[in-house]
Amino acid sequence: MTLAVLRRGREISRPRKRASAGRRFGRLAVGPATLILVALSVFPLLYALRLSFMSDNLLSAAPMRYVGIENYIALIHDHLFINGLVVTAFFAAAMVTVQLGVGLALALALHRLSRYQQLLATVLLIPSILSPSVVGFQWLQLFNYSGGLINYFLRELHLPLQTWNASPRLALPSLLIVDFWEWTPFMVLLLFAGLRSIPQPIFEAARVDGSSGWQILRYHTVPLLRRTIGIVVILRLVAEFKIFDIIYVLTAGGPGSKTESLAYYEYTQGFSYFNMGYTAAMCVISLIIVIVLVKLILGFTERPLVRLAADTEAP
């Protein structure tokens, strides 16, 4: 059904005069938004790009000078940059998959209910509504070694106490827990909305055919949700690459550099040391990585436009 609508939208033919009037309207409508975006983004991006080829330390008495790709080469040897990449990649991979999995499970659970779905979805959404720094402080209190709730429960259960965000071993997992707590509800809401838009007859038909729950999930639900999944994955992936607030509050990149994400390292280089050129080079690289990843995902999810029609037919 979706496919047919889209096809029609693209193929409607109009006489030339209307076409150019349409284009004019379109450009007028798009104009203000594009203008602001370009003004706000092109300048800093070009500036950052140019900076990445210079040695510029705002605090140095020496003047800014052109150094070519020196910053980029230094980055490759910088163990903190590599560390940032690893931490961020690990974070993104872990969080996107886990949040997607649990989010989907909960969305399916919501879908299974016949009442209170809306209310539950909204109530569950609260963690995602809170400000990230607020979430950070909340969990800082929960993780507190002597007075925090988590260790209280551990103590009651006679389990060994943990130092959570101060522990070299558990600092990163602690952050994962916090991020998971904060954003899974968001996933649940979007996935649930997606589930709701799948026509019921599909499920009923499959069930009448004798498919088990798992088969329905695998051959019907997930493929039909591919668009939704693509969107939530992109949203979360992009956000995880920028992960900063909770690290700032909970661990300050520590212990050592165990939780120093790419964004946090960029912040340190740019805002603590004011190494502008170096930071700019880092930002350019991380931007390229994200663009490539998103393109990949978009390609993956936009492809099955044709297959969609096939999916809705009888298997």
Partner: protein
């Protein structure tokens, strides 16, 4: 059938566990916000305080300028969301209906969301300070548009793409202008989507941290800016922080609940189905 009931039990159990996991820290934050300092990290913890101590709230609101934080956040978020919605919806319509800019423009707008704020923070800071507009409302609002417009455009594009253009077409053949077709036909049909989008945009603006910290000082101080300054002194002021957090979250939670009807319905129409 047993299989169906079994799945219902599993669903309910799973949701119950989820509710506890996701809501208990919120409950704890509320409890902390009404406890006196001695109970903040008390061991064993006080789960059900007998007396509600509201001094954390009065301190958060006055000493830590919570009222101003609320007001400033409201001004900035509402303005940025409103402007972003107007511009974004227009742009989304243009792209959806007239394919303006093609895939390039579409991706360009989407890519605004990729940028880590840190990447453009310094150039933007220098830009705004060169204009002498640090610590102004206008600067922060315009800065927030950088993320609000792409988000609104991208999401609303999906909604418009999903709306069959037939009604608008027939209206235009009957003499209506494109603007009227947009205003009187397309828009009313995506109202749930509009509401859901506006709500999420508002939430993101309300909670935005990096630029709030960067571009504000004393004349403008949104709520996210105030929080990190509260981590000092003899000990960490958990109660005050919890109170400030509650104060900051309350307006948004209220709005979300008031508009919950649109949340799910709005999202399930467009963004999910096509892009």
């Amino acid at each position: 059938m047993i299989r169906r009931r079994g799945s219902l039990v599993a669903a309910v159990a799973g949701l119950a566990a989820a509710l506890v996991f996701f809501l208990f820290p919120v409950y704890w934050m509320l409890v902390t916000s009404v406890q006196p300092p001695k109970d903040w990290l008390a061991s064993p913890p006080v789960f059900f305080p007998h007396m509600l101590d509201w001094s954390n709230y009065s301190q958060a609101l006055t000493q830590w300028k919570g009222f101003k934080g609320l007001a400033d956040s409201a001004v900035v978020s509402l303005s940025a969301t409103a402007i972003g919605m107007v511009l974004g919806v227009l742009a989304a319509y243009a792209i959806a209906r007239y394919r303006t800019g093609g895939r390039n423009l579409s991706f360009f707008i989407l890519s605004m969301l990729f940028m880590p704020p840190v990447a453009i923070a310094i150039p933007m800071f220098l830009f705004w300070s060169h204009l002498g507009m640090i610590d102004t409302f206008q600067a922060l609002i315009v800065q927030y548009l950088l993320f609000t417009i792409p988000f609104v455009t991208w999401v609303m594009k999906g909604f418009f793409e999903d709306l069959p253009p037939d009604l608008e077409e027939s209206a235009m053949t009957n003499g209506a202008s494109r603007l009227r077709a947009f205003w009187e036909i397309a828009l009313p049909n995506v109202v749930p989507g509009l509401v859901a989008t506006a709500l999420f945009a508002f939430i993101f603006n309300w909670n935005e941290f990096t630029f709030a910290v960067l571009l504000t000082r004393s004349r403008v101080s949104t709520l996210p800016f105030i929080l990190p300054t509260m981590m000092e002194s003899h000990y960490v002021l958990w109660g005050d922080i919890a109170a400030m957090a509650a104060v900051g979250a309350l307006p948004v939670v209220i709005i979300a609940f008031a508009l919950q009807r649109y949340l799910v319905r709005g999202l399930s129409f467009g963004i999910i189905r096509s892009n």
